[in-house]
Amino acid sequence: MIIGLAIFFTILSLIASYRVVIGPTITDRLIGADTIGIFMSMVMLMIALYYDIALLVDIILAYAVLLFIDMLIYAKYFEHGELYK
């Protein structure tokens, strides 16, 4: 059941990568990348549950913070054209 959900989320993120590869504009690619990041953190949560690794939960928290900061930095870069302003 748990490992089935992990495989399911992996397949969904493969389908969502259509928007990253084909997507007409940059915004589509960013939204697709955000979706894939959140699905990957869910996959990591399921793996931590299945193999009973409690340490992986800390890594997921750090991964979520990094995903948020990544999205903000990309948005800022595409808005201003440069990072420091």
Binding site: L12, T27, D34, L49, L72, A75, K76
Partner: protein, 113 residues
């Protein structure tokens, strides 16, 4: 198979169904900003439901609290990230909506339709 485990499975499967809705909306919606809607609302709820289901499944005090913290972080951070992306793509003219009838924001930025 107690009632608690069944409830946890129910939450996880609801989250997975919302994830399917997210991917379908990402593929099917016609406009960039409507795709952002699918990414902002449904994706957040799917992630939060899966994390709450996991916290119910584990059912230890500190570990469940830590997993709930991930869900809370997603609930508050994902709308902010999508807002930043939408505003950037409007301001830098990466994507411009052409056929909108009501558009107060382009008046604010000082552009003509």
């Amino acid at each position: 198979m107690t009632l608690r485990i069944l409830f946890a499975y129910f939450l996880m499967i609801t989250g997975a169904a919302f994830a399917v809705v997210t991917v379908l909306g990402l593929l099917r919606f016609p406009d960039v900003y409507t795709r952002i809607h699918a990414g902002a609302v449904v994706l957040t709820i799917s992630a939060v439901l899966v994390t709450i289901g996991t916290a119910v499944y584990v059912w230890e005090f500190f570990l469940s609290l830590k997993i709930m913290m991930i869900g809370m972080f997603f609930l508050f951070s994902n709308p902010m990230a999508t807002h930043a992306i939408a505003r950037a793509s409007y301001k830098r003219k990466i994507v411009l909506p052409e056929q909108y009838e009501i558009d107060a924001y382009s008046d604010y930025l000082g552009r003509d339709k």
